[in-house]
Symmetry: C2
Subunit: 187 residues, 2 copies
DNA sequence: GACGCAAGTAAACGATCGTTTACATATCAA
DNA sequence: TTGATATGTAAACGATCGTTTACTTGCGTC
């Protein structure tokens, strides 16, 4: 499953770069920025540790590249507004979809430098496009509500383990979430 | 403002313990678990670094003690249900009140050991009492909704800096929050 | 086919951090 | 007053981590 450079001929800088980037997305999401070691990442990618500094300019730059590759506001803004609630929840709970960028966001929480990078990318790549998309005088409030509910949901489901049903989504909770997101675009 | 042992006579173990605990709450909240160093904490408390291991048994035990001292579910469960929304938002936005435990919760996010401690304390000291307090067949869903909205709010306001008004609370956002919390107890 | 450079590796460097150890001193009972 | 003990300090230990350096190897070109 993990993409290592062994999949291609040995000497291919682009392929190596991609292998490191892919491994970084996984390891950062799994262990957080501070606990994710360069040696962990390069080991999963199947390359030497020194290549992170060579190809990305250091751990922080690697994190920025990994997060930037995962953030995509179109995940939200290409949905129809009349059925926004159900579809956004479906996307948030879709197991088959692409890797969620949110674990990467949380990964940056405890490191001041990584958090600065994450906040900047989140603002430029998600919050601003979302505010534009809501497109009214209350657009910034709608964007804030969207961020709050989304952050709360993902944190509760993925970061905390508060109850036995935290891993999946309780049907009653799902209905509430759908109504909540729909109300944001309808208000 | 910071409580150091210089406020009392020099040799007082209890006073020293309290000074370390108080400094730990501040530093952990400011810098996160990983970035908060023993030397930072003991320096603010005005004591030697080795006393953390002596009095608390290590950094992790110190964090647990600091978080436990800050968590108090009565912050929520002693409010009247008929005016829950406005009063809980008032408490959450009260600048004059005690130190919020939530920065300490976030401080643990990126460290696996600290997160395990924080999750256990959050479940036992907040989530379970809250579920008991809601007291119905949908009590666990209500508690989940409460956690999601609270986490989203605090994360957005205190952790992210997404917009110029993120530091304070926009009036429209406040009205939405109040209605949101009130709906949880009314449903 | 030999040369030159890109690509990759191994090993060490330098700094930080939590913890432990050895030592100094203030407090209090006898 | 004196000695035992609690309290506090200074310094070093051991481990980890990000980064850099020196070196090796493979690919393309003339």
């Amino acid at each position: 499953m993990a993409m290592t450079i062994s999949d291609a001929r040995a000497r291919d800088a682009d392929r190596t770069r991609q292998a490191i980037l892919h491994a970084a997305q996984q390891i950062f999401a799994e262990k957080g920025f501070a606990e994710a070691g360069i040696r962990d990442i390069t080991a999963r990618a199947g390359v030497n540790q020194s290549l992170v500094s060579r190809y990305f300019g250091g751990k922080l730059k690697l994190f920025e590249a990994a997060l930037e590759a995962a953030l995509d506001a179109r995940l939200m803004t290409d949905l129809p507004k009349q059925d926004f609630g159900k579809q956004i929840v479906a996307r948030f709970t879709d197991e088959t979809g692409r890797t969620s960028p949110l674990p990467l966001m949380f990964a940056a929480a405890a490191d001041s430098e990584a958090r600065a990078v994450a906040e900047r990318l989140l603002r430029d790549r998600v919050f601003e496009p979302l505010t534009q998309w809501f497109d009214g005088e209350a657009a910034h409030v709608k964007a804030a509500r969207f961020m709050m509910v989304s952050i709360g949901f993902f944190t509760y489901r993925d970061q905390l383990r508060l109850a036995e049903f935290a891993g999946s989504v309780d049907p009653a909770l799902r209905r509430w979430l759908e109504a909540e997101f729909q109300a944001i675009v309808d208000d």
